[in-house]
Amino acid sequence: MRAEELKGHLDALLLAALEDGPQHGYAVMEALRQSTAGRLDLPTGTIYPALHRLEAAGLIAGSWSVVAGRRRRVYQLTAAGAGALSGKRADWRDFATMMSAALGGGPCPDPA
């Protein structure tokens, strides 16, 4: 899946990646790759501005730590972020249900 197809959904993916605990930017990207079975085709560098945007919105909180003598920015979900993630999950379920009903019961195309 390419970046332009992710518009509007990247925030939910990032929030979900942080649901299990604090992570730094690279680890968030790795978590996304694993959770999407490698289908996410997104430049790693573009994850960081999205994390900064979510931090500015108060949905995640960033802090610096030192790992192996190097400073590392780590992010964790805030209470507002957890609420936003719940809302996005509910919205997605409604959207998926609506699209499934509208598109009918034909067989799903093989992603391969």
Partner: protein, 191 residues
Amino acid sequence: MPGPSLISDYLADLSADLPGRIVEELADGLDETFHRCLGQGLNPEAAARAAVAEFGEPRVIVAAFTDASRGRRTARRLLSAGPAVGLCWGVVLITARAWQWPVPIIARVLFGVALITVIGLLAAAAVSRRYRLVSRAAAAACLGTTLLDAAMIGTVLVSAPVLTWPAAVAVVVSAGRSGFALRNARHALAG
């Protein structure tokens, strides 16, 4: 960060436009990517090429950071609020016959030039793809907006014969905007 010159050059490209703390964070992620590629059996040069390719073009990253910056958001909010605040003051100036106020012509001209400058700075901060320019233009525009609002409030309080309700509304709206601009000026500069 130790590693091939390709990675150093890549980080130097980012440093040209982005603040040090952001580049430091990106360097950490790039280093992780580089070492993962090394772990996959690539030689250092190939690992650096793969890491840089995976990270994406510097101009794309800079543009994304610029769009997400505090300066950009602040400038867009001030620009969208501008017509409403201007309308409030327009009503005040017309109903109070402001052209009859004892304000020197040079002060009127200076105010007009300052207003146009602030609008230009806000427009630059709202559309430019250069991170540092956006931050600096937004911070300058925030300070300019505060000074313009203070000038309008001071002028009305001194020159208007009576404080009408449109003037009271305009003063409150302007004071609120000034507070927003002042709060965000420092953050815009910090990025």
